[in-house]
Amino acid sequence: MILEIKDLWVRVEKKNILKGISMKFEDSKVYGVLGPNGSGKTTLAKSIIGIQKISKGKIIFNSKDITKLPPEKRAKLGIFLGFQQIPELEISLQSLLFAIDGEKAEEKINKLKTFEEKLGIDMKRELTGLSGGEKKKLEIFEFLYMQPKFAILDEPDSGVDIDSFKILVKAIEFARKEFNPTLVIISHYENIFNYIEPNFVYVLKDGIITKSGGKEIIESIKRHGYE
């Protein structure tokens, strides 16, 4: 097992967003986390990377308790979050990647030239004024660049056109072949799972896990919704 969440509680502005959830993730498997809007999916992702303060619970990564570890150290351990919303940043992607890896960044970027072109990444452009689709592509490029052991992609499919969506799927397939991370795909649409088949599915609603199991859950959601 690569990551385990034990009895996780998150309280924001006097409201419990996550109410004691527990989850397990195994090496190199694909997980789907589905749920309606406001169910706590993004809060869960932010808690795992460490930018969401938690009220109670533990997060174990590779048998190590990382609950109190700052986000930058979790990232260094190999945890990645592909953000759903990216803040406006007056820095370029190139600067960001060089800040992570120094001179080694150049070599790593060169290895991803094909995806840089396919995703239409401008390494020198400031990360401001990006469209929704551009932001998703940026996050996918960072995912490929960082080659994490455990990656959470928060709604990578929302706000992208069909052509871009196909490129995103190819990028994820590429990642699975190249470094084969544990992949947690958060979405409230089932469409992406038609292309990237999950090994296990969690359904989150009102801050609790209401269902968990195989990919058949997705079929059930397709028919009956989250009720």
Partner: protein
């Protein structure tokens, strides 16, 4: 009107400094050097009293005419009672002055004004700690009314006066004996270091100050001295007739000594020119920011606007970058570096 001797400099030295300064500002050089007067430390308490005594000529009443500028503190703009009083005192309503909007922006950031011949100016404030310079040329007429709050020191740094120019400085509610010397100092840009800057600042006991780079060709290179204790000095070209200048400045304000100066000189034929200055800064926690935009108003047809804003580095930005594996120190570093790159420095 005689130059002040309050800062221990002799009159000859002061005059030479003034000449040098005016020369750089393209003031017309007069045959007689005695025509230039320079007052440093003009509002040290003693100097202020001296200066008050030499105000022999009565200030003309400011009239609401096109060549008359009224700079009014934005606090005062919102005070109905004050308005009423001033209307009675000056005979017109400041809010109807066409430069009113201009006033708001400038008062927030400080102002430096070079006043042309025959231009009348009324400068009314009750705030302190705003850096301002006055460059008055021949026959200029200025009335300054300052209302002090808090410790009560003048926000006027320097007044550069030429013969026949008149300043009437009215001090109201000076409730403290803690008025202190405010001064300008000069350093050569090529020799400027963080250490020399801090040293100069300590020596002069400045809370607000001016900075002048003597070697104009070095100014662009000196735009950013360092990113620790930042001092930004910028010099911008002249606005010629019907020209338009848009200036946008950005910076990271990282501690209390952060400082901006932009200097904008307008040509004598700046009729119809437009100048737009926008300054944006990212402000780290506890940073204090002083901005000294300088502007020459030479002609009634000159348009100018100025905006100044700072924001703190946002939590969301930090979180995003930290989640990518970058620590706080590096985040600040790359944000600054990219701003410098934006400046093409």
């Amino acid at each position: 009107m005689k130059a002040s001797k309050g800062m221990g400099m002799n009159e000859e030295k002061e005059r030479k400094l003034a000449e040098k300064y005016f020369k750089r500002l393209n003031f017309e050089r007069k045959e007689s050097p005695s025509g230039y007067y320079l007052t440093f430390n003009s509002l040290d308490v003693k100097d202020f009293l001296k200066e008050s005594k030499v105000q022999k000529k009565p200030t003309q009443e400011v009239e609401a005419q096109e060549n008359s500028l009224i700079f009014l503190d934005n606090t005062l703009l919102t005070e109905e009672k004050f308005h009423k009083a001033k209307k009675e005192k000056f005979g017109f309503d400041f809010r109807k002055n066409k430069f009113e909007a201009f006033n708001l922006a400038f008062y927030k950031a400080g102002v430096s004004i070079k006043i042309n011949k025959d231009l009348k100016l009324s400068f009314i404030s009750k705030t302190s700690q705003i850096v301002r310079n006055f460059f008055l040329i021949e026959n200029a007429n200025v009335k300054i009314v300052e209302f002090y709050t808090g410790e009560g020191f003048s926000s006027i740094n320097n007044k550069f006066l030429i013969k026949n120019s008149i300043v009437e400085h009215e001090l109201i509610n000076n409730d403290s004996s803690k008025s202190f010397v405010q001064d300008s100092f000069k350093l050569e840009a090529s020799k400027l270091t963080q250490r020399s800057f801090i040293k100069a600042r300590k020596e002069l006991n400045l809370k607000a100050f001016n900075f002048e780079v003597l070697e104009s060709d070095v100014i662009q290179k000196a735009s950013i001295i360092n990113s620790g204790s930042q001092l930004w000095v910028s010099n911008f070209g002249k606005a010629v007739e019907k020209s338009s200048i848009d200036i946008s400045l950005r910076g990271v304000f990282s501690n209390s000594s952060t400082f901006f100066e932009s200097f904008l000189e307008s040509d004598k034929k700046a009729n119809g020119s437009n100048m737009n200055i926008e300054i944006k800064g990212i402000k780290e926690k506890n940073a204090k920011v002083f901005c000294v935009p300088s502007l020459s108003i030479k002609n009634k047809n000159c348009n100018a606007k100025h905006s100044f804003s700072t924001v703190e580095l946002e939590k969301g930005e930090f979180e995003y970058l930290k989640a990518k594996g970058i620590d706080n120190k590096t985040i600040k570093k790359i944000v600054k570096e990219n701003i410098l790159r934006w400046w093409k420095l």
